[in-house]
Every structure is written in structure tokens, then in C-alpha cells.
């Protein structure tokens, strides 16, 4: 068990003891268990999952950030992060649609920005889907 804190520039998202953490590193997903070697890496857009002491699993949509693992525990500096129930699905769908249209036009506008925006929106939708699936499986 180790201390995990997940913070964004405008709030503290999660603070507590966890057993494991799986984060989307820029070079692929990576897991952190207790006693992991000190590490510093940027994080990509993707799913962040962690399991707390009671065995409860949390799933969240991460839109980039940093992960630092030290002897004191792990810190995730997230650009933005949401639990599935915080995600505004309609808004994510709209954002994805807008980004797709901009990408389809292919000219003028900032392609990398549109692509990043699309990735974030799709990630949020994927996380909502997954949360719903696991909720219905549990029921």
C-alpha cells in the first residue's frame, strides 16, 4: 500500500492509500505497485485505474499529465481528470464531432490541436462506456 495523490491545477482529485495504479504513460500503460522504483514520466490521454485498500477499483478519464513515484508515494499531476459520473457525455460527443469535422477539412486550423481534442473526447466516452459496462455486469 502506498500514498497516492492525484491533483489538477484547480482541485485535489484523489488522496489516499492505494494498492495499485495503472496509468497511461506516453510509451504505453504502466502499473505501479508498492515499492516501485522512483520514476518520473509524462502521461498521455487515457484511462487511469487504481485500487484502494478495501479492494475497490476506481476508473477515471485522464487528459494528460505527469506521474512521479518516489519513496513517499505516487503523485499524478493531471491536466484534467474525471470520474465517469462527472463526465458530460453529450458535451464529449459534441467535442468529438467538432474535432472530427475540423480534421476532415484538413487545412488551415491546427491539426495537432484538433487531434488532441478528439483523443480527449473519445477517451472520455470510452471511460463512460466502460463504467456502464462494468456496472451492468455487476448488477
Amino acid at each position: 500500500m502506498y500514498q497516492l495523490s492525484i491533483v489538477t491545477p484547480d482541485r485535489v482529485f484523489y488522496e489516499g492509500e492505494v494498492v495499485s495504479l495503472v496509468a497511461p504513460g506516453t510509451a504505453g500503460y504502466l502499473g505501479v505497485l508498492t515499492g516501485h522504483a522512483p520514476l518520473l514520466t509524462p502521461l498521455a490521454v487515457g484511462k487511469l485505474t487504481f485500487r484502494d485498500a478495501s479492494g475497490k477499483t476506481f476508473l477515471a478519464a485522464l487528459s494528460g499529465g505527469f506521474l512521479e513515484v518516489s519513496k513517499k508515494g505516487a503523485i499524478v499531476l493531471a491536466d484534467s481528470i474525471e470520474f465517469p459520473d462527472e463526465i458530460d457525455r453529450a458535451r464529449a460527443e459534441k467535442a468529438a464531432e467538432k474535432a472530427r469535422q475540423r480534421l476532415a477539412k484538413k487545412e488551415g486550423i491546427d491539426i495537432p490541436r484538433a487531434a488532441a481534442s478528439l483523443a480527449r473526447a473519445e477517451n472520455r466516452l470510452a471511460v463512460v462506456e466502460e463504467a456502464m459496462r462494468s456496472a451492468s455486469a455487476a448488477a
Binding site: S5, T8, D10, A27, L39, F66, E68, I75, L77
Partner: protein
């Protein structure tokens, strides 16, 4: 002496002013609570980002980033953060006074301004200093997307070498009743190096690349934190000054009530004397 009617009118007017200041005090208190919450939420990120940056600066000594590049200062930029609304005691005046002191060492050719807050802009729009950009729609409420716009603007100006030094002027929130005007160098960023470097860190993919990604984020948090501190100070200052105004209005009402009663009594005494005098004349 004022007539009783005049005094009554004054009492009414003062007490309606008192109602307004009381309402403003309460609104400021509510906003302060929220701003303080925001500040408390923003601090951990900034602290942790700073810690990581320190670790990294020790490990990646050769890391070069355009935002860290120290250039001879030919052009400066002052970012003054004040409030959009007045009636906050001496809050805006304090910020502006400090800005003026800072600007004394510069001239309009080598120093520009970026202004947050309508009140500061009102002051500077008619002056000789070139105003690069104004952000007058925060309304004392920290909005992350807007803060990002501000931070990006500043970083771009520095990276494009339009300015060689950026200084942040904001107020640090110490408690509800105290804040301190604070002038902090913002760019170039000078990361403090940690003495002992924990050498066994794994940097994935490489220190330089992490640096590249971390520095802009760190700059953003500096801006966010400065805004959060300023807004909390603003609401605190407004709450205190409106509280004082409410108290003063109360004192004034007490005084006027006394004067009114005296005038009324004097009137009654005069009437009795007249009646008695009239009755005596008849005998």
C-alpha cells in the same frame, strides 16, 4: 439646528446605505469562502509541480528550454493583477501603488503591461505605459480556461523574444483581513536546484523531454496560483471594508437618532412654554 424632518430623512438614507453594505459584506464573505477553497485546491498541484521540477533540474542539468533562457533585459513586462470591481477598501489602490513604484525604474519604451482586472485598467488606460492585453472578465472568480489563456499569452511573448523579463504583481492572501502585495519574477523561470539529487530516478523517456512538458505546466500553475491568491485577497478586503462601512453607518444612525430625539424634546419644551406663557398672559 436641522429640522426634525431633515434628520429623519438622513437616518433613512444612512440606514438604506447600511443595508447595502451589509449585503455586500455577506456576498463578499460567500465569495471569499469559495475563493479560499479554490486556493486550497490549487496549492497542492503547485507545490508538487515545484517539487518535481526541483528534482528534475538537479538531474537534467543540461536541459535547455526557451522559458528558462536568461537574456539581457531589454524589454520587460509587468503583469498586474487587481480586481474588476471597486469597494474593496484599499485593495486596488495598493496594487496600483506598487505597480507605480515598480514602473519608476522603467520607461514606456522598455516596459509593457498586461492587466488583469477592470480597476487597474481604468487607471492605466489613460497613461503612458503600453498595455499589451487586458483581462477584465474574471469577476473575482478563478476560471481555469481563462487563466490558461493568460499563461499561454505570457509564455508566447517570452518565447518569441518580444520581452526578456516578465514580472507578476499580485497579492498574497494571508488571512481574511491581511494580504500582502507581492512582486514575483515569473519568466525566465529559474528552477531551484536541489542539493542532493536522488540519482536513482528513472526518467521515462528522458529528462530533457520531461522538462519540455513540465515547464509550460509549471508556468500555468504559477499564474493560476497568483490569480487564486489575488482573488481571495480581493474578497477578503471587500468583506472587511464593507463590515467597517456597516459599523460606521450604525454609529452614524445612533448619533442621528440622538440628535433627532433632542430636537423633538426641544420642540415639545418650546410648545409647553408657549402654552404656559399664553395661559399666564390671560390671567
Amino acid at each position: 439646528m436641522q429640522s426634525i424632518r431633515d434628520i429623519r430623512r438622513r437616518i433613512r438614507s444612512v440606514s438604506s446605505t447600511q443595508q447595502i453594505t451589509k449585503a455586500m459584506e455577506m456576498v463578499a464573505a460567500a465569495k471569499l469562502r469559495r475563493a479560499q477553497g479554490r486556493l486550497a485546491q490549487a496549492r497542492p498541484y503547485a507545490e508538487k509541480a515545484e517539487e518535481i521540477l526541483k528534482n528534475l533540474a538537479g538531474a537534467a542539468a543540461e536541459a535547455a528550454h526557451p522559458l528558462l533562457e536568461v537574456r539581457p533585459v531589454k524589454k520587460s513586462l509587468l503583469v498586474a493583477i487587481a480586481s474588476d470591481r471597486g469597494l474593496a477598501g484599499s485593495y486596488n489602490a495598493n496594487v496600483i501603488r506598487r505597480a507605480e513604484v515598480f514602473l519608476r525604474d522603467y520607461n514606456p519604451d522598455n516596459c509593457g503591461l498586461v492587466i488583469v482586472g477592470k480597476k487597474a485598467f481604468d487607471f492605466y488606460k489613460k497613461r503612458k505605459w503600453p498595455v499589451r492585453k487586458v483581462f477584465a472578465d474574471f469577476g473575482g472568480n478563478l476560471h481555469l480556461a481563462k487563466a490558461k489563456t493568460l499563461a499561454t499569452e505570457l509564455m508566447r511573448a517570452y518565447e518569441n523574444k518580444e520581452v526578456d523579463q516578465i514580472v507578476l504583481l499580485y497579492t498574497r492572501f494571508l488571512s481574511t483581513s491581511t494580504y500582502r502585495v507581492h512582486l514575483a519574477p515569473f519568466l525566465p523561470l529559474v528552477p531551484e536546484k536541489k542539493e542532493e539529487v536522488s540519482g536513482d530516478y528513472i526518467f521515462e523517456p528522458s529528462p530533457a523531454e520531461i522538462f519540455e512538458q513540465l515547464v509550460p505546466r509549471f508556468c500555468l500553475t504559477r499564474v493560476v496560483l497568483a490569480l487564486a491568491e489575488s482573488f481571495a485577497s480581493e474578497h477578503g478586503s471587500r468583506m472587511i471594508s464593507m463590515g467597517a462601512a456597516t459599523r460606521n453607518a450604525g454609529e452614524m444612525i445612533d448619533h442621528l437618532t440622538l440628535v433627532r430625539n433632542k430636537a423633538r424634546q426641544a420642540g415639545i419644551t418650546k410648545e409647553i412654554l408657549e402654552v404656559v406663557g399664553g395661559a399666564e398672559a390671560l390671567q
